[in-house]
Symmetry: C2
Subunit: 243 residues, 2 copies
Amino acid sequence: MPSPLRVLTRKLKEHSRLNAEDVATLEGLSHLLRHLEPGEDLIRQGDNPRVSAVVIKGLAARYHLLSAGARQYLSFHMTGDMPDSQSLFIETMDHSVCAMGAVEVALIPHKALLKAFERRPSLGFAIWRETLIDASIFREAITNNSAREPRARMGHLFCELFYRASASGLRVADECQLPIGLVQIGETLGMSIATVNRTLQQLRISRTCSFERGRLQIFDWDGLVRLSQFNPSYLHQRKPPPL
Amino acid sequence: MPSPLRVLTRKLKEHSRLNAEDVATLEGLSHLLRHLEPGEDLIRQGDNPRVSAVVIKGLAARYHLLSAGARQYLSFHMTGDMPDSQSLFIETMDHSVCAMGAVEVALIPHKALLKAFERRPSLGFAIWRETLIDASIFREAITNNSAREPRARMGHLFCELFYRASASGLRVADECQLPIGLVQIGETLGMSIATVNRTLQQLRISRTCSFERGRLQIFDWDGLVRLSQFNPSYLHQRKPPPL
DNA sequence: CGGAATGTTGATATGCCTCAACTAAAGTGG
DNA sequence: CCACTTTAGTTGAGGCATATCAACATTCCG
């Protein structure tokens, strides 16, 4: 019976080299499985968690709370991602993490992780690298939301999610599931729902991709990449997934 | 004769506890001093550096290159910051780092840093924490540029820079030096120069702060904080600087 | 089947970008 | 040190794009 943490091994191997001992240590980590309902919070801004989560299944998201209950979504996390690895070294959460659809996570006590780093420093470095790639994704989001027009901005988001889903084996042919709505897309890209809707239509008309009822479908990857100025190098994968 | 790396010790102590041995190891790191002219690049997108820099003096910035030579500035870095610590674990730079004004940096070989982490894991954790705070600042920039209107957006940038300058002892009374121009502010906040100029005037008229010829002056900190929805908790300082 | 949530569409207004002309400041060389 | 050049900042006019609002359609869920 393989550990559910195997997904983390796979994820870390996207950018880091792990030897057999690293893998054994990683997958031997004590953990607790937890199920989250759609919309449920895993952690909230202000919390001081003693565990870190690995997404086993489903889509999680980080977000800032704005006045009036609005949100700014910051990033999305799929199988193998650690949406709150930062809590290992930063006591207080400066943002929240929620489940977009139904989500399964494995909760690993910080103590166990830190002890593992002691035994296998290379494991710590791999997770450090993972957090650095997170940061790289945040930087790209700054540029995306600040410097690109709506169509390219949305296209870029779709490129990133499709690319990452592919790398994580979550793509089926030319589509992947993204259990999010127009409101969430708007709160990710900083646009109104109306504009999200109209931009979605532009993308569909341009025959590059379509997003409907939580299903992202890519018709013309190269065209979408071009139109979005998507350059996957910021994801720092050792080898790109087949697309 | 104290090591120029003392500024890094001070910086890390803002969020981490270092004992005498940590400090000794840190300040004993081999390094090279380098001077940068205004506008000069320290590293470029695509580089594979073997050293990481500590800002000793001046203001550095990270940026993405956009088509047509335009830039998206991602963050600013002052005394004690490590604007490219990520290169320790990520081979290829996904963004560039440049000097805004004249800048002095200390370049530390990655090898030396990694060896230091081996001897004093707590040092590695402190720098890891530093990179996590970087990420937190990036997240805040996403929210700032995506969800706040121009006046609050600019106010927030000024709050952050003033707060961080204060923490680093770079503030003189109610002002600090920021060797940047309107173009750069626009390329940071995602607004046109015209809007930058007019927003600057709004802030001046509201008697909260003024920015002229590289000099940021704060008239009404509490007012500026309110108007910008600035909450410094994302900077994760152990104790806030006096303001 | 009914109600709530989500998505769609059109009309309107405003706020930002663009462009262009101008002013002020800073840097340079005689 | 002053005249000149270059760069940076300022202001106004105009148009376009996106936010806002409101009405409506569709899908989801109990």
